[in-house]
Amino acid sequence: MERVFTLLSFGPEGWGDNIAAGVVITVSLALATLPVGLALGFLVALGKRSPDRFLRLAANIYTTIFRGLPELLTLFLVFYGAQIGLQKLIHFFDPAASIEINAFVAGMVALGAVFSSYASEVFLAAFRAIPSGQYEGGYAVGLSSSQTMRLVIAPQLLRLALPGLSNLWLILIKDTALVSVIGIADVLRQSQVAARVTKEAFLFFGLACLIYLALAMLSSIAIAAIERRAERAGAVR
């Protein structure tokens, strides 16, 4: 038991500080991906409900691809594919140059693409739940279409999309574990290193699982607070 405490302590003997650094990486990756995924997902949702056939098709291709590919494969495609593509592009201008893709950015792009394609479905469902009278009311009082979207539709949309989006956030936290494979020192990667060095695999992977659980619980608390706040602002339906 004492050995366990030594192993988990912060300091030269223990792995606590390494794993805490991993938690920071995991959380910052998820937090950095969230706005990208939300913005992109919203745009894709707008594309999907456009009256124009071509725009709808383009948006649907996007979701079909990123919802159909395994997240791990998306990550590899972005990580290696972007590297090769950019390398070729740069060789075109300067044959001697070489480029390294930042693993963190690759993880952000891949997770953002997956998140946004699921988020677009959530936004789409929320759009469908808003009656067309809301738009007509906006136009009737003289708001432009962008003003209607910003002042009338978006606040209701966010409230309707919140449950779906919070689900996606919990999935996003779990998906960040995949970036340990491309060498980002997140929680899982750090536990893997610790497990290999100390031969206490069950302890460290169990700890990693508990950390993810704790993150999920913290998120649930935060989400509940946001939902209460959103409900207070909303009209009673």
Binding site: F54, A58, P70, L72, S180, V181, A208, Y212
Partner: protein, 276 residues
Amino acid sequence: MTAAPGSLTPAERPPVQKAPWTHQRTLGVVLLCIWAALALAVAAFMVESWNPTLFERYAPRYMSGLWITIQLVVLSVIFGALLSIPIAYGRMSENRFLSALAYAYVYFFRGTPLLAQTFLIYYGLGSFRPELQAIGLWSFFRDAWNCALFAFTLNTAAYQAEILRGAIGSVGRGQWEAASALGIPKLLAIRKIIIPQAMIVALRPYGNEVILMIKGSAIVAIITVFDLMGETRRAYSQTFDFQTYIWAALIYLALVELLRNLIDLIEKRITRHLKR
């Protein structure tokens, strides 16, 4: 009323108005052009790097990898379905202890990444090697494939238990009461009355779960199981040819799309009595 019948000649049909060219259409065309350019670039890349010896060497391996993926998903979904029944029963049980236990199980497996669970089982159980050897389970947990199957079964059982619970809960109480009023035994009522109605609700989530398992199964490549993803990684590390990943992407996409369409078909079939 007073008008002569002759004045009722049908008016000229108004000319069909051409849809105006909007900004959205411009954007749509541009985006579609980008997709087409990307598809062309991928196709050109595949043609350019086409290598018959490479294809001959790796195509059978990809097929065996695909077979492993399918086996893993099918087996874990079936075992998971069996395991989900007692868990869903526990979740719906009146017994506090039982329902708390089932809730903790579901919360743990839905709240942690599948990759971490797989590591916990594959590497973590190695910490208990003497104990496992004593009860003769070590030979099972030594194998990466068995560990992956075990982890996936536990994981999908948690998700399926929630689906099952939701679906059974969606069938009205009156259905149970009517069945017992007619003297139908409980098991028969479940089989003939509750399950057919619950399946309509559960089909889509079940289908999504299978798709998620197909996509999630790619992570077994990390614990050295040579499924489709594992074969891809091996092929890439031997050839450094990026087309290996594109082949895998195409196969996974085809698999998922096939399944999605299949689910749509089944849904049409089991809801045909609701169509008007």
